[in-house]
Symmetry: D2
Subunit: 355 residues, 4 copies
């Protein structure tokens, strides 16, 4: 189903079908689109860039079908299709019967009564995040006209942790500096440790998870609602549409559980006559509404379920227990590729609520 | 705005207005409502039950206006109103200008251009969770006819932690056993420690936060969607509509970040010829869809922002820095009262997606 | 279910339940409500005003529960409840089994598996238009701040027809002049003929239908959408939620079928340098979007199904053919009472799309 | 924006952009698609079939991108793209400034601040009904599995009127017989008169409108809702998304205005122990819910606004009055091509509400 009341986004496609894509309606007209920037965002998600991700090469060039005229958004639905190419090289028939642990194979089979396209995960494939990134890239360009910038960094890979954003002072400049790094982290000394964690898992035919922290800066106060479409609700709703996301928290997140109110509360003061909070433990949101401070949230990404080790499973055609070893080129870690996806859903969520 | 496509829920009211309530449409007809059970659910949230919560007494009896006929749901919109009584005893005028740290006062003031009812938090008041609990109690009774039971326990209060649900074996019986305890915990030895943490904070004019873990048992496989209305998306959307919720995670949650794929993946086996997972790290959801295993999620509750200590703030009428000490009877901890609220939103979310 | 993405309206209640009402969310904050005007609108719909409608007296005073503070809208959901009083005086049990021709009794019984409240039509009762009128009265007051005025007249009762609006020149003044007339018509000479048609039907234990033409003036160009939420789609969607409405057309409506393009097309010219159409056959809407000319539409109202004559029907409890004579006080014509209801849905529709 | 809660449909594209298309989500899985039948439906709308419509040839072959696997619907979003070909042969630049009377040029220009694609009507083009017909063809195939058939006929062209459906007895066989006729009418003697009316208008560089009557047979009782998603509301909502539709009525429609209740009411009787109505003036719907009788509705289609005659208009770039003669190949009548479009929206509407 589609997402959103003010903007409205549909995502379609299966990993090995003809094409994947998105339709975005409700965009304002007259936004000049920077196609290079969109291509750049697509590359941030694309596989095959280095030895940390799968060596698969995907053609991820979105063909815009509508909604753009002479370089500007028309305000009518913007549709883009990404053709699936080179998808017939492999025999996926074992996935018809052997449910991959950690994947949606079994749940999807039940949900769709066995009619879902099982090849490469079908509609559940991480490949479906490509149109999300495209939609996010558009949303970011709209938000830029409102002074809003979004950026994220890898805050954890397995046991390697990065620093956290300074929730009060994070700014556009810092967010942009992340784009030029080998891995987007705040503390560059962690890059090698993260790479090592990923490559070690890869060598052991295993995978690792992690966390991504995202910041939205420049968002004015007053965006969001109490019931039911809080800024947190909308961002979380979208975040949990991203395969592999299993948790989300705002501001200091989990730490809230052990804080006292006196410490957790963000007191107010004046900064150049503007009302700001001294701390920003709430991650820029109270009562579901932006406070004018940076929005800070962190998502938990589970390790890639595809691993080249033998795992126990069930054959649903014979209803017998069996084992499965998933062959092929897998991502030992998708956290680094998911960074731009998390930014994308943040952009879509903010655009949905912007007024 | 309202929530839901299949069921549709509106919540209305301000803490000190005439009444609060809810309209629930899309309910199936012919569900026999157990009014005693609904009253029991309302009491679980009500304040003034012991020295752990505020001594305020609220009249929380929902007056059903429509949608029930001769004891059964009619299928037409079910509306209920809870009158606000005894609300004029206090002078709230300072809240018109002095923004309470940690509360939605400032964000709400900006959102509504200063026209929001600031008395007692207005529409942002925790009191608005009363109609949510009512709606949840109805949803639970519908879900019971589908064999689904929902229960939750306090998994943390400040630094005191309870045991976690056995994600594979948690059952209806265990969930019901929680209802008769002084505090709903799995490990009874933690009750006194939790009470002590709360009362210590109370004595120090402070407050504490915590966590609530919730289980949904008996839900068949195949409920939910990949994009955008995953089971996780819908539950998270609703959870973040509950004041004070700042985080949510499914299954082993945060732990996923440091797990290897081999460990995190839930392998399949057969139990009496039914396909089950051996572990349930994914909390009963893959690809946004239920697997038939118990749904497990945990929410983070921030400490009550209302504390009787002086805090820095800003007077928005004079735009000057000032301080504020919030007088009155506050909850030193709302985690114990929020347990039934979390169950309620879980029930509403599952009912929305049930098919 | 509820209506609307920008504003969102729920209607609840049954004719003989505890109360009926509405929840309206998404209203702008800071609109000063004129309660006298709201009461005046409610009276326009209320029965028992003269011998043309039922002599039933209904207490139609909406009790606002929330969303209004110190006389202004807060921007949070505005809920109102109208208590049902004096509803137990009659025995409705025959309606449990004997389906009234022309009413929703049978369709409703199937839809709700026999659990619907059948007394007085239950949720299908025309009484449910009272909360619609209330919501419309609020919407009108918001629209007034945008310069938009809405008014309607009876364009037909049985065979008596009124003049039609001048689609180019109809203005606020003309619309307001309709309010003070015995029956809201453009050609006062038709009032007596309409009354006679209604009273003749009444004397013959029968009822009559008619048409209502509505005008929306002051609406700027550019409101509405091509797919799917055209201004026509939204108004029609709401119009067909009103019991007894069986048709709607915009501009010259049915006449379009026999017009040539040359005649039907509204050519453009300049009026004080503003682009206007010379004619307004399209009723102020092309491509689903307002042109800046008055919006003109007409609805068809079927005759009241409740008549005090014997009619053939089926007893659904015994599944046998039988007859039914509906006793009690019925409206021989509801067209005059429906005028304000049509205005209300027009106001809600425009508010939904206003930007 | 998209349509629907249970099924959800997006339409995208501009007449002269890269492609047009649709995304349909919420379809049941496991529906075997008959591609020949879909192609047949597309041809019913396609231009250039005879001298009654434009001689333009459009490539209307929908390329399915997703949602179909091995010939069956997967249950995941079904997307289809129709490439626009041969679209650069004409100079449309005059349409940038000269607003065509009767078209959406002016309203669209205001709505989208001048950024809309004006070539060939852009997103407002009748060409956008091609993806609607595709979506309708899919919906029809789903409905066929529920025993529901939909068909329509031209009930009027200018002053030539066809017979009306027998609202009680219309059946699948009659609906299918319409498909093989030169023009889909009930009374074959009217075909020549209709053709003559169209060709006369064509010769006079003018165009004609008409009406289309649609029947939905085999729909069980109990489908639809009272507020707000009545069967009439949903069908009307969709109908007014179709360019050129200016009116819709159900059952005897306009006639209701002058009928007495005694005549208008549809009395019940038993047919082979099933409850049916003796007449079907209400067009199979009471209280917004299907009665089990055929659904009957009629739409009014305005004459094609594109005519090769000089018309008065305004140049929006110079803000001066001017004239415009629209050159090119136009449809002198689109009623015959719109028949399948009306069937399509009926199918989508019923599928949305089916339960």
């Amino acid at each position: 189903m589609s997402f959103g009341k003010n903007i409205n986004i549909s995502i379609f496609g299966e990993s090995h079908g003809k094409g994947i894509g998105t339709v975005i309606s409700g965009l304002p007209s007259g936004i000049k689109l920077d196609m290079d920037e969109i291509a750049c965002e697509m590359r941030r998600r694309a596989p095959g860039q280095n030895n940390l991700s799968t060596t698969r090469k995907e053609s991820d060039i979105p063909q815009i079908q509508s909604g753009v005229f002479e370089g500007y958004t028309t305000g009518t639905p913007l549709a883009a299709v990404i053709a699936n190419t080179d998808t017939h090289s492999k025999d996926y028939s074992i996935l018809k019967s052997h449910m991959r642990p950690g994947h949606a194979d079994f749940a999807g089979n039940v949900r769709y009564n066995g009619f879902n396209d099982y090849r490469g995960g079908g509609h559940f494939s991480g490949r479906l995040t490509a149109p999300l990134v495209f939609a996010g890239a558009i949303a970011k360009q709209v938000l830029k006209t409102y002074g809003v910038t979004i950026g994220a960094h890898i805050s954890q890979v397995e046991c390697v942790t990065d620093a956290r954003f300074d929730a009060v002072n994070v700014d556009e400049k810092q967010l942009q500096s992340l784009l030029s790094k080998e891995l987007p982290v705040l503390d560059d000394t962690q890059i090698e440790f993260m790479k090592e964690a990923i490559l070690t898992a890869k060598n052991e035919c295993d995978s690792v998870g992690g966390k991504i922290e995202c910041a939205i800066v420049g968002l004015k106060a007053g965006i969001g609602n109490p019931f039911f479409d809080s800024l947190e609700s909308i961002i979380a709703h979208l975040a949990f549409s991203v395969p592999a996301v299993k948790g989300i928290s705002f501001g200091v997140g989990e730490q809230f559980a052990q804080l006292r109110g006196k410490v957790a509360n963000d007191s107010f003061h004046l900064v150049q006559n503007n009302i700001k909070t001294i701390t920003n433990n709430n991650g820029g949101i109270t009562g579901g509404i932006s406070t004018g401070m940076p929005i800070i949230f962190e998502t938990v990404i589970k390790p890639t379920p595809s691993i080249s080790q033998e795992q126990k499973t069930v054959d649903i055609q014979t209803n017998t227990e069996t084992t499965l070893k998933i062959e092929g080129r897998h991502d030992p870690c998708i956290v680094q590729r998911a960074v731009v996806v998390i930014e994308a859903i943040a952009a879509i969520g903010v655009l949905e609520l912007y007024r």
